[in-house]
Symmetry: C3
Subunit: 649 residues, 3 copies
Amino acid sequence: MASLFPTLRYGGDYNPEQWPREVWDEDVALMRGAGVTTATVGVFSWGLLEPSDGEYDFEWLDDIMDRLHEGGIRVILATATAAPPAWLVKAHPEMLPVDVNGTTLAFGSRQSYSPSSSAYLEHALRLVTKMAERYGSHPAVEAWHINNEYGCHVTRSYDAESAAAFRVWLEARYGTIEELNRVWGTAFWSQHYSSFDEVGVPSATPTFGNPGQNLDFDRFSSDALLRLHRAEHEVLRRITPDIPITTNFMGFFPDVDYWAWAPYVDFVTDDSYPDPADPDSYVVAAATRDLMRSLGGGKSWLLMEQAPSAVNWRNDNAPKAPGQHRGHTLQAIGRGSDGALHFQWRQSKAGAEKFHSAMVPHAGPDSRVHREVQALGAELASIEGVIGEGVDASVGLVFSWDAWWATRQYATPSRLDYVAEVLDWYRPFLDRGVGCDFVSVEATDEVLAQYRVIVLPSLVAVPEALLERLDAWVTAGGTLVVGRQSAILDENLHVRLGGYLGALRRTLGVRVEEFAPCAERAVTLDGSVEGHGVDWQEFVVVDDAEIVASFADGLTAGGAAVTRREQGTGSAWYVATRPDAQLAGAVAARALAETGVEGLIATPAPGVEAVERGSVRFIINHSGTEQTVTVAGEGLTLAAHDAVLVPRH
Amino acid sequence: MASLFPTLRYGGDYNPEQWPREVWDEDVALMRGAGVTTATVGVFSWGLLEPSDGEYDFEWLDDIMDRLHEGGIRVILATATAAPPAWLVKAHPEMLPVDVNGTTLAFGSRQSYSPSSSAYLEHALRLVTKMAERYGSHPAVEAWHINNEYGCHVTRSYDAESAAAFRVWLEARYGTIEELNRVWGTAFWSQHYSSFDEVGVPSATPTFGNPGQNLDFDRFSSDALLRLHRAEHEVLRRITPDIPITTNFMGFFPDVDYWAWAPYVDFVTDDSYPDPADPDSYVVAAATRDLMRSLGGGKSWLLMEQAPSAVNWRNDNAPKAPGQHRGHTLQAIGRGSDGALHFQWRQSKAGAEKFHSAMVPHAGPDSRVHREVQALGAELASIEGVIGEGVDASVGLVFSWDAWWATRQYATPSRLDYVAEVLDWYRPFLDRGVGCDFVSVEATDEVLAQYRVIVLPSLVAVPEALLERLDAWVTAGGTLVVGRQSAILDENLHVRLGGYLGALRRTLGVRVEEFAPCAERAVTLDGSVEGHGVDWQEFVVVDDAEIVASFADGLTAGGAAVTRREQGTGSAWYVATRPDAQLAGAVAARALAETGVEGLIATPAPGVEAVERGSVRFIINHSGTEQTVTVAGEGLTLAAHDAVLVPRH
Amino acid sequence: MASLFPTLRYGGDYNPEQWPREVWDEDVALMRGAGVTTATVGVFSWGLLEPSDGEYDFEWLDDIMDRLHEGGIRVILATATAAPPAWLVKAHPEMLPVDVNGTTLAFGSRQSYSPSSSAYLEHALRLVTKMAERYGSHPAVEAWHINNEYGCHVTRSYDAESAAAFRVWLEARYGTIEELNRVWGTAFWSQHYSSFDEVGVPSATPTFGNPGQNLDFDRFSSDALLRLHRAEHEVLRRITPDIPITTNFMGFFPDVDYWAWAPYVDFVTDDSYPDPADPDSYVVAAATRDLMRSLGGGKSWLLMEQAPSAVNWRNDNAPKAPGQHRGHTLQAIGRGSDGALHFQWRQSKAGAEKFHSAMVPHAGPDSRVHREVQALGAELASIEGVIGEGVDASVGLVFSWDAWWATRQYATPSRLDYVAEVLDWYRPFLDRGVGCDFVSVEATDEVLAQYRVIVLPSLVAVPEALLERLDAWVTAGGTLVVGRQSAILDENLHVRLGGYLGALRRTLGVRVEEFAPCAERAVTLDGSVEGHGVDWQEFVVVDDAEIVASFADGLTAGGAAVTRREQGTGSAWYVATRPDAQLAGAVAARALAETGVEGLIATPAPGVEAVERGSVRFIINHSGTEQTVTVAGEGLTLAAHDAVLVPRH
């Protein structure tokens, strides 16, 4: 495939407005020395670009754009709408977000607007128009960066404009109030509505709110942000039709449905901050890279933000160990990113992010961090055969924001951390060097056909149509693995009666009668797979399946825990507990074996991953100790936090 | 005694409005098959019965009432006022409850009304009148069920109508502002009021609020709900004088004083949800049954709601083990219930309670849960000699909501979980098969005379009159056991000076100089009773009593821990620590021995209880393991969660 | 030096308005019997002194003042403004404080006023004027006590008057909005302000607020309270120029900058409540005494409040062990207090503080507590050679509220408990019987010259001028010890670039490149000082210093952990971790040794302190076990909680 970029991008957010101009010259020189190709400019510049209503000051931005261009640095130019200025908020206090308890959130940090604010949108579009007109033909511009991290702090606002917009959204979705009543199940607890006028946002209530209302407010809130993005997108596309457009995603971010969003960016970008102190954080990072690639339908994407060392927003902000940042970066490249950008170029001297590391740290260029930045820039410039390339994947994991939101509802059988459950099932494939994609619940038969193994990790809520397609896909030879609590609910969060699982009851040959949460307890199994369950058992009725393992203790002792059923040329597994690493690994290994998929790594090693992209094989040791591993038959030893790139055979 | 019912009731809440009518026929057939006698209908039907202001739709309710009647199922008909509909809240937003921080709680769950709302009351009474007129002569109606679980979510509302009503309540209580100032102790912290107009509700304050204001707001809030109940009660009594009336209590519910409430129901009903995963939850359940019987002055009562298996509102909702639900049910019958109803008949497909188990679960009638439901229905139908009967009790435990509220005040000597302390002293009698009643602080000499042993478990606040009556009762031969922190305060939360305990100083022969909390620490004792204290010591001055045990360590080492004094033909014990199970058991055993009371169980066994009602002895093993026990001299072995009913000798 | 008082003061807060007059006579008699010299009267009397707007009732206060005077008891008379009455709050609801979430805090506890309320100030000054006019010449009056514990509950209020006052304060501080923009770094996150009108208080925001805004609101809020104090002070000074004035401080209180406050009291007073259950609480108590003396520039001060036994506001309120209260009291006297007063004289019968111990407890005068009170009164009356005297100190610890506030900001490298870090460095000197002062960041060369050792414990934010003065002080022979995270920021919370530490980079000969928090982990060191680090490492670059110890493990293994550099005739130590007790002790011992300071205690003993004041040496065993210790060469054994006073050599 082709990339939008000529070489792997390298650089970061650049906020020259925080520094006097004498620093700007040093910046450009240091960027060149570090192999920087790209700077993201203007993300939080609204206040300075438009210091009062309708009066603009572009002089400083013109200056820095020219300097960067002269220095050979390309610019991803932000539309600067991420943080409205003080004068606008003062003129339109109704634009401030309101939290679930009715507290209005004041100006003084960032994102001080309700996603449904008309005053915000009007003024943002006016600025975007100015930006597009002024810089659309500037030679430094490489791409547009709309807003920033939509929803990072304010996703749901409970203000009056949001309530009005929610009613409009509901009327468009349901047509009649009767249909809303049906879908929301308002016969329960006397919640019947006579008209849309009576419907409000799910602010704090005396007890559990309506699940349908909560889910639709999750969806509406995601859509409200997308509506802002699309409005800016429209302006930019119209005025500068040839400049690619993006906005930066935030990985497994709970509040915005990126499947719905991805069609409205020309390339997916992601902000990624794995915790350097957590030895397992490379797992969620790897999954995030694969998600970004999957959102773009397999196209290459771009790592828009990462930290060269520590962040500033955890309670204790560990720095990265020597080499650790290189491992993170090569992981992203190996999994489809066409470069690696950072937040930020020069570490701030003031403000709420001054303790966030940067490519030029407080200590200055003569520092460990900057030396690693320089070395990494040189290394990226030397990597060939990768840019624009995809990554093979034989496993698909179904991932759905609706399902995630379903797990965040009140009054469920037990607490469930959706992403943790997804990672339970992602990790055994990562450990074995098997490529994974994430798959939407709207995946067509054509998409499903790309995979040999498909996993449903706790896909609590799912439309019946997917289950039917999966049934056919199994018949045609696929191996399906269904995790606990999958397909209990339909897309309206209505229960599937008669044993849950919907169409999968046929595919799996089992029904589920009851759940038996057993928090904080290991669940012992008897059978032909190693490992334990965690926190959870089910009363499973086996109608037509092989019992691979049974529960050895607990309330469902003797009942089926892991089942398998052959159908057509495929097979379907059900796992009625949360698997520990050993159990997930055993089931994954069986699934891979029966579909003939071989991973790059035969015997997993702690912290080690291997992935192939284009003509390069990336082998990375994320652990803090030396590791020996055999990759595609070749043994090698990697020092702590080391990585090697070898030609792909 | 006579029961209001011809046979033990069996059934549950029935919400047909959540289902299409084709399901209704199956429901009636399944009810008959399960031995159901009774369905509770209409609890949350206001929104459908009155879909807009003053317009009613009774057709569907007529239909279901007729179907149930034809199927031989009796109906406990709710007044449907528990959850006001959306149109009413929209028309009267001032009726929404307001929390202590001033947040208005939105529509969208249930109980969306301030207990002091005039708009709510007016519309509720209009509906109740309609219901009474329409269904008062329907042959299916067995009883009225007013509202539902008064105060479950909204007990205290801090809205303007509540504040105004609080002022009226205070003026009625105190007459003059001077008297309020005296009782509330407003000379402290400059809290003096010049008029009732200056008094508000105890919303969030800069620091600890006034204890008198807090206590009176607790009392007012309980009264405000009772006022709603009484208003409905009056309408129903007037229009349908022959139909019994109830509303469902919630066991040891902190916010409503059921002693004040009980006179306004024709039979006490209770909703009971012991945690299946907690092996001790049968203890609080047993105490709850005894409390319900005590509230009705010893009359039989009715278990209105319980779950056939899991609930949905805990973090992890364990199902009941096989047999466990039968044990819960027989416990209720053995302790005075004339039946066992459930929430709910058919498990919801949507809404916030869809994961709450039901008599017909999601999996359908062909399921473990429904088979147990059928068996239990048949068993209840076969029990004779129980309905309408009372339960003998030789022990009385004084229980008071005022005392409970006193323990919830800020700035007390230490944290104290009132119900846990009550259960500390209830359990040794339960373990020995000794019948217990709960006794109000207003118990007359006549009531007190029914008991051989009376216990005051941490009765922090208590009127002096009870202490005087207890003194006389001891002289007349009773054995009194007084737990730590009892009688420190009078009913206004004013301290009893000179050593606390009030009139009991004389009875017990001790004074208390100081408290010595020692959180999370076992307290060792020296003396003639086994066991330890927990978390607490006191500086006790013994004026005239036998020291049964002394503190062996801690700040009060060497001082009295357990004392006993004979007075007249009775005796009085003081226990100056929180007892562990062994110490409470030792003191209880001594008290029983000296009054000649013999329990059914000589040697307690884990999870086993025995109780006699009418002509039946109930012996129940609530534990998950087999237990062997001797009951009234006869040895028997019960399997896990098994129970046996034997004729009473 | 001279004291304001003829003898050591003894007594407490006295609230006769809570009691009938028959109790007053007993009070005076008991006071005389207990050696009481002084009662603090009127602290919360506004509501009774001015029961309605402009109408006064001084009769009862006249009466008690006369009775006390006749009994020989002197009065510290409060201005009674600490808790405005109900009628005032009702007339001016805008005066109520508003919290960070916008919740208005209701009347019903105390301190029901925004510090910026004009209605409050106007009415308070009217009352103070009345009080001064009426009692200024009353012979019982010993001093004025303005308000009470300013800021104890309400320091920061987010109401409209506070916002307006904040803007005025900012304009006075910065002159132009451009300067505010520079200092606050508003180029970050588009926070630029065009005029002061746009600036608000830092109420709840979507994410981290502006650090400059937060810090200035901390400063403003402290100043707003000081403004109230100064307004009362002005009235009193004008009307009663000869009566000393104070207000009671609260030790290490986070919200008010007592360095700024101390010039506006004639003698410093303090309220002190060390936890009797915490064996280390005497350490913070000792430091508090030294802080109070330091605030007054070395003058004697007065312990205004302490509890004879338990308090009422902890979760579990332990009483004091026998003798423990005497130890607390003698500690205060030994460290500069001219007496010991209490909260309160007679334990309340009602109200939110009824469970707070008092000199006359609930149990009455015939009680352990009152007997200890009597004995202590007699002992204090017998101590000679102490009153008005100072305490020698050779060690200075720099303490700054700005630095404290800097540690409370969001988004710092790691969590840091400022006072705990100060005590880490205070304790080794206390353990060795070495006198310590606390020193402000504005300390002049003359002040610094008083000390042989100066410690900067985590002085995160500090003006450059102090660092320059310390550099000169080291050259002149001082030994400086700089703790981790010191001097990262300047007084505007702007980062010091190039390795942090500012001018101290030269003095210490080191730079810091990066931080490496390692929460909950012990940090091992290699070198010539014993002990470990805790939670924290740094990447230290040594330009010109001796490496005393290196990090033995963790991310900075091999790097410098403790350094020392000689400069002129002095030396400067840097400690790049949080020290455990052993490490802090080792560094302190080295610093004392190289400056030739000898402590009273050669070998520290648990819970034992020794301090000299005037002609007396105080040796106190705060521990609950017997301790043997050598003090100034003389061995002695002290029983648990015992203390001895010996003549100073």
